[in-house]
């Protein structure tokens, strides 16, 4: 379970960034998120939808404790991200569009590294590794350097790395953005599998097709503000346009 309450995040701007904002901008900070609240429940897929630069990644980084809130709070599996960041991280798996792998390591070494960082004992690690490598088909390239793997293979390794510690919560930050159709499909399958296992799934995207394929709950974020939050069904039921995409554009333009 993730509970986000009145979450705001400001970033300090460098002198150069302030100059780039133009003469009209007089502040020293920029609001990346403003008073955002939502809940993600176990066994459901929560989709965070928004155009580029809307604040999706900031929200997910706050959930994963990479960033600290300026105000408001995030509670993950009952732990406050500010007070107990390590406990939160033990329960979260984070997957980005960028595979985030070390090219000079092998899949074996990389997955073991993350297992060690999560404090898995040898027996648990071996069993979990065997299970994941078999399901994802990693065994055949487990000892090859990651730099020499195809993007599909890398994605599989990335998934194994994300869930080696069997987290209760899995966060996908535009995980399919840089992938081809085949690799994207494997991520989508994986997201569904996580939901099936009763995990809390948070998924950010700007691809409408994926929204309709996966979402149970939906939040639309634009310029750091939440402009819609509810179930996906409610969203489609109250649409004033003919498609999800049109409705999204309408809401963004109206905001």
């Amino acid at each position: 379970m993730i509970v986000v309450e009145h979450l705001s995040k400001q970033f300090a701007l460098s002198r150069q960034q302030r100059r780039e904002m133009g003469a009209a901008f007089t502040g020293k900070t920029i609001d990346a998120l403003q008073d955002v609240s939502f809940r993600c429940t176990p066994g459901r897929i929560f989709t965070l939808l928004g155009p580029n630069g809307a604040g999706k990644t900031t929200a997910l980084r706050l959930i994963a404790t990479m960033l600290k809130p300026s105000s408001g709070s995030v509670t993950v599996a009952g732990f406050d991200t500010l007070k107990n960041p390590v406990e939160v991280r033990k329960r979260v798996g984070f997957l980005t569009g960028n595979t985030g792998l070390y090219d000079r390591l092998t899949p074996n070494e990389l997955v073991k590294y993350y297992a060690d960082l999560h404090g898995l004992d040898q027996r648990t690690y071996s069993a979990r590794r065997e299970e994941l490598f078999t399901v994802l088909g990693i065994h055949e390239f487990a000892t090859r350097r990651i730099a020499k793997l195809s993007s599909g293979m890398k994605q599989k390794v990335s998934i194994a790395r994300t869930i080696i510690h069997n987290p209760d919560i899995v966060v996908f930050d535009e995980a399919t953005a840089a992938l081809d159709v085949v690799a994207s499909r494997s991520i989508i399958q994986f997201i569904r599998q996580c939901k099936g296992e009763g995990k809390t799934v948070v998924f950010s995207t700007h691809r409408m097709g994926e929204v309709s394929l996966l979402s149970d709950d939906l939040a639309i974020i634009h310029k750091g503000r939440l402009i819609y939050s509810g179930t996906y069904k409610e969203f489609t039921d109250q649409m004033k346009t003919s498609s999800v995409e049109d409705e999204f554009v309408r809401l963004v333009e109206a905001a």
Binding site: F11, A12, S14, R61, A64, T65, M66, L67, K68, V86, E87, R89, K90, V92, G93, F94, T96, N98, T99, G100, L101, Y102, D103, R104, L105, E109, Y113, Y114, D116, L117, H118, G119, R161, T162
Partner: protein
């Protein structure tokens, strides 16, 4: 501790698998000295030998004015008298390398010499990159001729030649050969160690911070249940180890190179091997450790600030000059280790190493160098920790 070791092991594996880092850290320092000493010294020695043995083509103008001179030149080994030329054509001949030297005996040479004055001989040659060996050989020839004339003058005057010397200077240098060679080489050795230390730390620092940001692995690493300080410490330790390893490897390279050069005089070889003794090496390394910690903190901070590997490289690479400067100042004669210079980073290591190698280090000043380096290293680690905890730094450009 277990987490630190996990991070350290991974970062070290990752670093040594990077060909660029491996080259700068191991291959370059290991091969540089054997190539530098072995290759260049051998080449230099063979070139000098060639110039030394070269038959000089010498044209004499008005040689008859200097009795016995032409015969002396003909009898000299490695000199050949060319057919006579006129004085005006001397310069073009020399410039075209058709001649190596032209010696012009002044018209009044015989009269001057006979009246016990000094006669003039003009030596024309083209100075170049032959280590001035041609000039020296010509001077030796003329000095010998002068000696001959002076001897005959003293004989004619029935005087003993020793009456012209009133003071006989006897030099006794009390500095040991280790001290003498140490003061010369001592300036050069810290130069190498500091540079290799810096260069060895540079690439791992760039790769483990800016490289990690560029590859997007920093995000996934920050979601692991470990503190940022542990992550930083793991990276830090690898950067320090890389710097120290690089310096040690350069020392091995230097040792190998010195052993290889057969042309080095035995006395010098013994002195150099004496410099590379265990105590000097350990003391030098103990100075390099806090210096490398300082470098590591400084380099990691800059690298973390950069958005990409390339940006980090362009920020850090020019700093090599900044590091070279104080080390180069340490090589200037007259600049020694004092209570002031002991506090100046990098320069203090350079000067202290010089004293250690010469065996003249003062314990009080050495302690001051350690204190200043340890304070600097601690400050650098603290600064780096602060920097690593700043969201604006870690996520700059992402």
């Amino acid at each position: 501790m277990k987490t630190f070791l996990t991070i350290f092991r991974k970062e070290f594996t990752d670093t040594v698998r990077d060909r660029r880092t491996l080259f700068i850290m191991v291959i370059f320092p290991l091969l540089l000295f054997p190539l530098l000493f072995g290759g260049i010294t051998k080449l230099q020695v063979s070139q000098m030998k060639k110039v030394e043995e070269k038959i000089l083509r010498v044209a004499l103008i008005n040689a008859a004015g200097a009795p016995g001179f032409e015969a002396m030149v003909s009898a000299s080994r490695g000199m050949r008298i060319t057919p006579p030329i006129v004085a005006d054509s001397a310069q073009p001949f020399l410039q075209r390398d058709s001649l190596d030297a032209v010696i012009i005996v002044a018209a009044d040479f015989r009269d001057k010499v006979e009246s016990l004055n000094a006669g003039t001989m003009t030596v024309m040659f083209k100075s170049g990159d032959d280590y001035d060996i041609v000039k020296r050989r010509l001077h030796d020839l003329l000095r010998n001729y002068e000696k001959q004339l002076i001897t005959s003058r003293f004989a004619k005057l029935k005087l003993d030649q020793t009456i012209v010397s009133a003071v006989h200077v006897e030099e006794r240098d009390v500095a040991s050969i280790k001290e003498r060679v140490g003061k010369v080489l001592g300036g050069f050795i810290p130069y190498l160690f500091v540079i290799f230390c810096f260069m060895g730390s540079m690439y791992p620092a760039i790769d483990l911070a800016a490289g990690e940001k560029e590859r997007g692995t920093i995000e996934t690493l920050l979601t692991a249940p470990v503190s940022r300080f542990q992550i930083l410490l793991g990276k830090f330790a690898v950067v320090v180890l890389a710097g120290i390893l690089s310096a040690v490897i350069s020392m091995i390279g230097l040792y190998t190179a010195v052993r290889q050069v057969k042309e080095m005089p035995q006395e010098m070889l013994t002195a150099v091997m004496g410099i590379l003794d265990v105590q000097s090496i350990l003391l030098t390394l103990s100075l390099l450790l806090p210096l490398t910690v300082f470098f590591a903190g400084f380099l990691l901070s800059l690298s973390m600030f950069a958005k990409s590997y390339k940006e980090a490289q362009s920020i850090i690479s020019p700093l090599t000059i900044v590091v070279i400067l104080p080390v180069a100042i340490g090589m200037v004669p007259g600049i020694g280790l004092t209570s002031t210079t002991a506090l100046i980073p990098v320069l203090n290591v350079s000067l202290a190493t010089k004293e250690i190698i010469a065996g003249t280090i003062e314990p009080g000043l050495l302690a001051l160098v350690y204190i200043s380096l340890i304070v600097l290293a601690a400050l650098s680690l603290w600064m780096c920790t602060q920097w690593f905890n700043r969201e604006e730094t870690i996520f700059r450009g992402t």
